[in-house]
């Protein structure tokens, strides 16, 4: 049997050209600039950075432009770029208590230290299309308060913790966290590996898994203890200096979900927390992550782990959209030889079935 292995070069070359033309769109319309994408499609940039697991607004804007706004493809492009850079070191853990807050809300305490700060949110918009945006609008400016917000805001969970009502986090033992980009995950997975995987996981998948726990597939009764968004300073300790230095600031979104825990033989009933932290402004993702983080603790807390969101391997092996997309889309690659053998197998089985049925008919007739 002859199998064609050559012959697509010109078609592929022309396909690249067609893609470039389609990407550019109407040549009479000015092309998008990267500052326009980074500045006016900021939430798309945030999502691409989060799911690529690389914080760089300019590169994420380029990835979005190159991918024609396909954010999953954009994350893929940024992931690929990431492999070309060396890693200098890891940072000290960012301290979200000292976040320069742009938004901070709690659904559990009305009056909390620092207050409820709505910031930029779609929560109170009417979700009606705003046709004034279809016309080219001028820059708008929001009002400023006379005084800035408090420099530090305690977490809601620390208020519960002070009363002994919140299950404490395991103390920081300076243990090296897992790194799923270097070591393949093992199951059950360490919590550091779970959080890293969820932080770079697909927003839709993480959201749906979190939703499933609310609908009865996980028995969660969560409260949004706190959601905060703003900038945090990133500090590293370079080997050559030996002391911590600030290298810049990144925007992050953090969610702490407060969940019930009915207690065990050794522990009194108390609240537990599910934790979400993502690059950029992504509340939906941070909340989904916090729900799933808590669901994945089921076995550690002695709860029955029977639902999909509580299954480490199911969640962590399927939440990455670059991997999922790669494996699903590889089906588009030529499988001519595989299929040829399947075809022959099915034909043979059908021929055998024909013989068998003819035999049965003859026996019945006799």
């Amino acid at each position: 049997m002859y199998v064609a292995v050559k012959g697509g070069e010109r078609a592929i070359e022309n396909s690249h050209a067609v893609l470039a033309e389609a990407r550019r769109g109407d040549a009479a319309v000015p092309p998008l600039t990267l500052p326009q994408i980074a500045g006016q499609l900021g939430l798309a940039v945030d999502r691409v950075m989060a799911e690529a697991s690389l914080y760089d607004r300019e590169l994420a804007a380029l990835a979005i432009k190159q991918a024609q706004g396909d954010l999953v493809e954009g994350a893929f492009l940024l992931r690929a770029y990431r492999t070309t850079l060396p890693r200098f070191c890891a940072s000290l853990p960012v301290e979200t208590e000292r976040m320069v807050v742009e938004r901070r809300i709690s659904a559990t305490y009305k009056d909390l230290p620092g207050g409820q700060v709505l910031g930029p949110t779609y929560d109170y918009t009417h979700r009606l299309l705003d046709f004034s945006l279809a016309a080219e609008g001028d820059a708008t400016s929001a009002p400023r308060a006379d005084t800035p917000l408090n420099a530090t805001m305690p977490h809601v969970t620390s208020l519960l913790g002070a009363e002994g009502l919140m299950r404490p986090e395991a103390p920081d033992q300076e243990r090296e966290p897992a790194d799923v980009t270097r070591d393949p995950p093992r199951f059950p997975a360490d919590r550091s590996a779970r959080l890293q995987t969820l932080a770079r996981g697909d927003e839709g998948f993480v959201l749906a898994m979190g939703y499933s726990t609310q609908r009865g597939y996980g028995g969660a009764h969560p409260f949004a203890g706190e959601i905060r968004h703003g900038s945090v300073a990133v500090e590293i300790v370079p080997e050559e200096l030996g002391f911590p230095i600030t290298i810049g600031d990144i925007m992050v979104t953090e969610c702490e979900m407060v969940n019930q825990f009915k207690g065990s033989r050794t522990e009194k009933p108390q609240f537990t927390r599910g934790y979400g932290l993502v690059f950029g402004h992504g509340e939906r993702k941070a909340m989904g992550m916090a729900l799933v983080d808590r669901a994945l603790m089921a076995a550690e807390l002695g709860e029955d782990a029977v639902h999909p969101a509580q299954d480490h391997e199911f969640v962590l092996s399927h939440c990455d959209n670059v991997e999922s997309s790669g494996f699903v889309q590889h089906l588009k690659l030529p499988h001519y030889v595989d299929f040829q053998s399947e075809l022959e197998l099915v034909r043979r089985l059908r021929a055998e079935a024909d013989l068998r049925m003819a035999e049965q008919q003859r026996e019945a007739a006799e």
Binding site: V101, D179, Q196
Partner: protein
């Protein structure tokens, strides 16, 4: 170093230009682009986990008088990293040049002003709850 890491490149260029004599330097390492793995804390207070990487430009330089400067800056601006390393070296030792002291103070002031403005913008959206008291 935080000041030099956050300042926009134009301010670093201006600070170098204001120095007399203009500093001479050689590169010890870089400037080069790479990444830092950003870490968070589990549950905001617990042990560390890897959140994701960020791009970083770094550089190390030696001035002709032997002082060594280092810079690490978020992003991939190699020129800015080199300038920041030179200014870091210039700020070492006794006798900080007056023009550099003024430039660093101006960088800090600009950063503080931007931060204050963003914080006051957020503060304007803080909710003031008030109670409704039924009369009678």
């Amino acid at each position: 170093m935080a000041t030099l890491a956050r300042a926009p490149r134009e301010r670093l260029e201006a600070a170098i230009a204001s120095l007399a004599p203009t500093p001479q330097w050689e590169r010890l390492r870089g400037p080069e682009a790479g990444m830092v793995m950003v870490r968070g804390r589990m549950g905001s207070v617990g042990g560390a986990f890897n959140l994701g990487e960020m791009t970083v430009a770094r550089c190390a330089v030696r001035l002709d008088d032997g002082r060594v400067g280092h810079a690490y800056r978020a992003g991939r601006d190699l020129r800015a990293a080199e300038l920041a390393a030179v200014l870091d070296a210039c700020a070492l030792g006794p006798g900080l040049p007056a023009s550099l002291a003024a430039a660093l103070a101006a960088m800090d002031a600009a950063e503080d002003a931007a931060r204050d403005d963003r914080s006051r913008r957020a503060a304007a959206t803080r909710v003031d709850f008030y109670g409704m008291v039924r009369m009678g």
